[in-house]
Amino acid sequence: MDKTFTRTFTVVGNNFTDAGKVSTEIKMILKQLGINSTIIRRVAIASYESEMNVVMYANKADISLVVSPSEIQIVVEDVGPGIPDIELAMKEGFSTATTEMREMGFGAGMGLPNIKRNADIFNIESIMGKGTKLNITVSLN
């Protein structure tokens, strides 16, 4: 029997009105699964930041939540421009957000480093012109 629960959400780029909805749904699921609240908080921050990245920079993305008895995984696969220099993007405070975005409180350069900080395992792959894939794992043990 498959021991995991999977649910996939679609996020559309530039849709700021719905930004945050997926993280809210993910949190609701984790609360119903009885996941400890400190872990929920880490997953919430990581998924919210990923969702915002998609809204700000990509065309669209599938965000999947995979929960097994031992870990939570968030997989974000976007269709978008890709990240030219991942190392640079991983630096604290680095951001390519436009002035408008920043004025709205988005893209303070918290994105990727903040996701990494809240993950136990973090993987990122990006192909220019195609898109970026994030794999965020938070362990339950």
Binding site: M1, G20, I29, K31, Q32, I35, T38, R41, E49, P69
Partner: protein
């Protein structure tokens, strides 16, 4: 846990018409309607009073005390929420209303707005001297407090640990009377004149400590008629105590932050907007904000479900009252700061979480149940029609998984089942009729 035992509302089944208005409005999906009667899932209710307000048939009753309960006290003190001052004519001064409370049977009346001003000063001190998590959240709306306990246990540490004005006022009022009259604390009853049923919960189970200094609540709407009658009897206008200070503005959205000097403070009214903000904070946003004043009611306490005056008019009156009596402080700032340093305002102890029950305590089983739930949800039309007795298709799927209802209650699922059943029936009937026909034709030959 004890506090699960009672909530601030009760549904009278006899009066309920099963119209589902309450079920649809409840922000936490705590109401179901089965066999034409509404019922409450206590662990989900956050005492917001939306259902009390919406029920046309008055089938949902708020939990407050009754006057007869107070006969056990030797001395009673009424502590009116500052909302009380906004429920009557513009020309009626707050001080006169305190006198009116004495006329209708309380031995004394004590102004709470002045304690609100003191609490504002204490809040400022706390903001200035504590690092800790940001934004800090106001704990004075018992509904928001409970919402955090149930849905956002992560944010309990953001609640500012400063005692509420009503507790500070009750403690002070009792202390003074104990000294003056030589009574013990138990002999004095402190009764809050409340705009909403939720306040009763913070008296019955105060969030951080074992006991509240208040002994009960009476709804503003309940004493309103007798106060109206009492007002004309108050003639000694010169003896009327002056009520003043910025605390008078506490019952409207922004009343708390108005007296804080920190710029990064925001005030929110309305349970759904509060939920949105709490979601944001949980996602790590709003770290630049220092203090968030949250009210479950859109217009804060002037819009509480147990008030009489139209909330917008009441709001206007509060603004007028503040203009008239607010500019002069009723507290001496330095003295309050000294009290703050002596922990006069501190709320000690931890607030416990009361998180929603998971689908199962065992994570593997919970995952399996979540998958089942998803399966059911995929079959449902997601139109939230409510005919099944649950407010949304999603809550219905939850209920099925928890064994609280069965899938047949969904009219769409039943129709589908019936369709496939009748499809089979039709086929079987056709098969049989073909058989009979051919035999009949055989026999004819």
């Amino acid at each position: 846990m004890m506090e699960e035992e009672f909530r601030s509302i009760r549904i009278e089944k006899e009066i309920c018409h099963g119209c589902m208005s309450c079920m649809r409005i409840c922000p936490t999906h705590a109401i179901r309607v089965h066999s034409n009667k509404a019922s409450l899932i206590k662990e989900l209710c956050i005492d917001c009073g939306e259902c009390v307000r919406t029920c046309e048939y008055k089938a949902i009753l708020p939990l407050t005390s009754s006057f007869s309960e107070f006969s056990k006290f030797k001395y009673t003190i009424a502590l009116p929420s500052p909302v009380f001052y906004s429920q009557f004519g513009k020309e009626i001064q707050p001080g006169i209303l305190l006198e009116a409370l004495k006329k209708i049977g309380f031995d004394d009346a004590y102004d709470v707005a002045c304690s609100s001003e003191a609490v504002s000063i204490a809040l400022q001190e706390y903001l200035d001297s504590n690092e800790g998590p940001r934004p800090l959240i106001s704990p004075y709306c018992p509904t928001i407090l409970r919402l955090i306990q149930v849905r956002y246990p992560n944010l309990l540490e953001n609640l500012i640990p400063i005692e509420s004005p009503m507790e500070i006022a009750a403690r002070e009022a009792k202390r003074k009377k104990m000294q003056e009259l030589g009574l013990s604390e138990k002999e004095i009853g402190a009764i809050y004149i409340t705009p909403c049923p939720a306040k009763m919960i913070s008296i019955l189970s105060p969030p951080r400590k074992k006991h509240s200094f208040l002994d009960g609540t009476i709804a503003i709407s309940e004493i309103y008629p007798s106060i109206l009658q009492a007002i004309p009897q108050i003639t000694t206008k010169n003896d009327v105590k002056e009520v003043r200070g910025l605390g008078l503005g506490w019952p409207i959205v922004g009343g708390q932050v108005a007296s804080l000097k920190a710029e990064e403070c925001i005030a929110i009214g309305g349970i759904n907007d509060c939920i949105r903000i709490l979601e944001d904070i949980e996602n790590g946003k709003l770290r630049d904000i220092q203090y968030i004043e949250c009210h479950s009611c859109p217009n804060a306490c002037v819009g509480g479900s147990l008030t009489i005056e139209n909330q917008y008019i009441a709001r206007g009156k509060v603004l007028k009252i503040v203009e008239k009596y607010g500019s002069q402080p009723c507290q001496e700032r330095e003295y309050i700061r000294e009290l703050y340093r002596r922990n006069f305002f501190s709320q000690l102890g931890k607030i416990s979480a009361s998180p929603i029950k998971p689908l199962d305590d065992d994570i593997s089983k919970a995952i399996q149940k979540m998958k089942q739930k998803q399966k059911i949800l995929d079959m449902l039309p997601k139109i939230d029609c409510g005919i099944c007795g649950a407010p949304t298709c999603e809550t219905f799927a939850d209920d099925v998984i928890k064994g609280l209802t069965c899938a047949d209650e969904c009219i769409i699922l039943t129709v589908k089942k019936f369709e496939s059943m009748s499809g089979n029936l039709f086929e079987t009937a056709q098969k049989h009729s073909r058989k009979i026909k051919s035999r009949w034709e055989d026999e004819k030959k």
